[in-house]
Amino acid sequence: MEFSWDFSAVLHNWPVLLEGVGVTAGLWAVAFPAAMLIGGLVALGALSKSRALGAVTRAYMELFRNIPVLIQLIWFFYAFPIITGWQLSPFVAALLALTLNASAYCSEIFRGGIASLPRGQWEGARAIGMQPLQVLRRVVLPQVLKRMLPAFTNRGIELAKNTSIASVIAVHELMYQGRALSAAFYRPLEILTAVAVVYFVLIYPGAYLASRIEKRLALRGH
């Protein structure tokens, strides 16, 4: 192998990659809390006694989880404006697709977690006069949030990885910046390897944290 590694293109242009990291982090930091919020609301719909609401929320979860996220992204960027008349900027389209996609997974985590609590907890709290939302906030969530923590951490990791597809519609996040650099300097091996390493450094701590939490919860018998 006569190839010699030359990382000077990476070393001289690290601000370009850093800018990409900023956009990647921005996508994640907005999409993740928003996905949790929407996911929580969808889960409440799925758990409600209303059959219509149950069917609609089920369909929502199934749709967003069984279509590739890249197709959702392209749909929101190219197809959605035709129905609504709103041309979204690449960043907003990416945010919308990533958030809704992650929210479907989050709702399943909430739903499963809340359903894992024995019904007696609900009935007991109701019997002492609490309103349903009070039961949820004071009795149910405090008990199940811890159980859901590993699943949410994993979802956060999946979301961080998914942000990279925003590069396909020219959002200037890390993947896009890396490809632009690689095209400009003809050093795909060094630049794309550096991009992969940056992603790993950003994401691995989350995965490590998730496995630690999981082990601790397993030890406590949750």
Binding site: F3, I82, S164, A207
Partner: protein, 226 residues
């Protein structure tokens, strides 16, 4: 909302979408098979009990699991050829990216399934005179496989969805073909809605088949009296 839906353009180019659908199925099938091979290899290294084999395997697994799939596609297509001195077509690059990344996930599924079988099963099989490969094949694997199946199927579904990324390398999968149809018909709403529906229905049918399979396997490996 007064948009007039018009699927005639999509219908007129259905053969292009069919080509794409076949391309998606083909790459998914090949990547699952190669991913299982790679995953089994990584799992074997992880379980070898030798640090110099297990450690590198662990780092390969961690690296693939904690970097975006899209990076693997671009890396396989643009960077790997520089390293090996052979240029790869989109199909080969996409297969490499898909099977290595899913191999890393499969490895953890296999390892988890095997270590979940209690040691007593090994010991009992050995005690009645089985060689260790017999104990593995006849006692441990049949039980472990029933436990591996649900996460394995889940990972395979992820893989099928990830095949859509191959379109970024201009491999003729369903999404890439849809983009071509869109550039002819200028009907993005219809085209992309149709392929989203195709993916959805395909995964729906596959998940029904998977549930059947899981059910049958669960019945056939149920412990006596359990």
């Amino acid at each position: 909302m007064n948009y007039q839906w018009d699927f005639s353009g999509v219908w007129a180019h259905r053969d292009m979408l069919l080509t794409g659908f076949v391309g998606t199925l083909k790459i998914a099938a090949v990547a699952i098979v190669l991913g299982v091979v790679f995953g089994a290899l990584l799992a074997a290294l992880r379980l070898s009990g030798k640090g110099w084999l297990a450690k590198p395997a662990l780092w390969i697994i961690e690296f693939y699991r904690n970097t975006p799939p899209l990076v693997h596609f671009f890396w396989a297509f643009y960077a790997l050829p520089v390293l090996i001195g052979v240029s790869l077509d989109p199909y080969a690059a996409a297969v490499i990216a898909l099977s290595t990344q899913s191999g890393a996930f499969f490895a953890e599924v296999f390892r988890g399934g095997l270590v979940s079988i209690e040691r007593g099963q090994w010991e009992a099989a050995r005690a009645i005179g089985m060689a260790s490969h017999q104990a593995l094949r006849r006692v441990v694997l049949p039980q472990a496989m029933a436990r591996m199946l649900p996460p394995f199927i889940e990972r395979s579904f992820e893989l099928i969805k990830t095949t859509a990324l191959a379109s970024t390398l201009a491999y003729s999968d369903l999404l890439y073909q849809a983009m071509q149809v869109n550039s002819i018909t200028f009907r993005p709403l219809e085209v992309y809605t149709v392929i989203a529906a195709i993916f959805f229905l395909t995964l729906l049918v596959l998940s029904m088949l998977a549930r059947l399979l899981e059910h049958r396997l669960a019945v056939s490996t149920r412990p006596v009296g359990g």
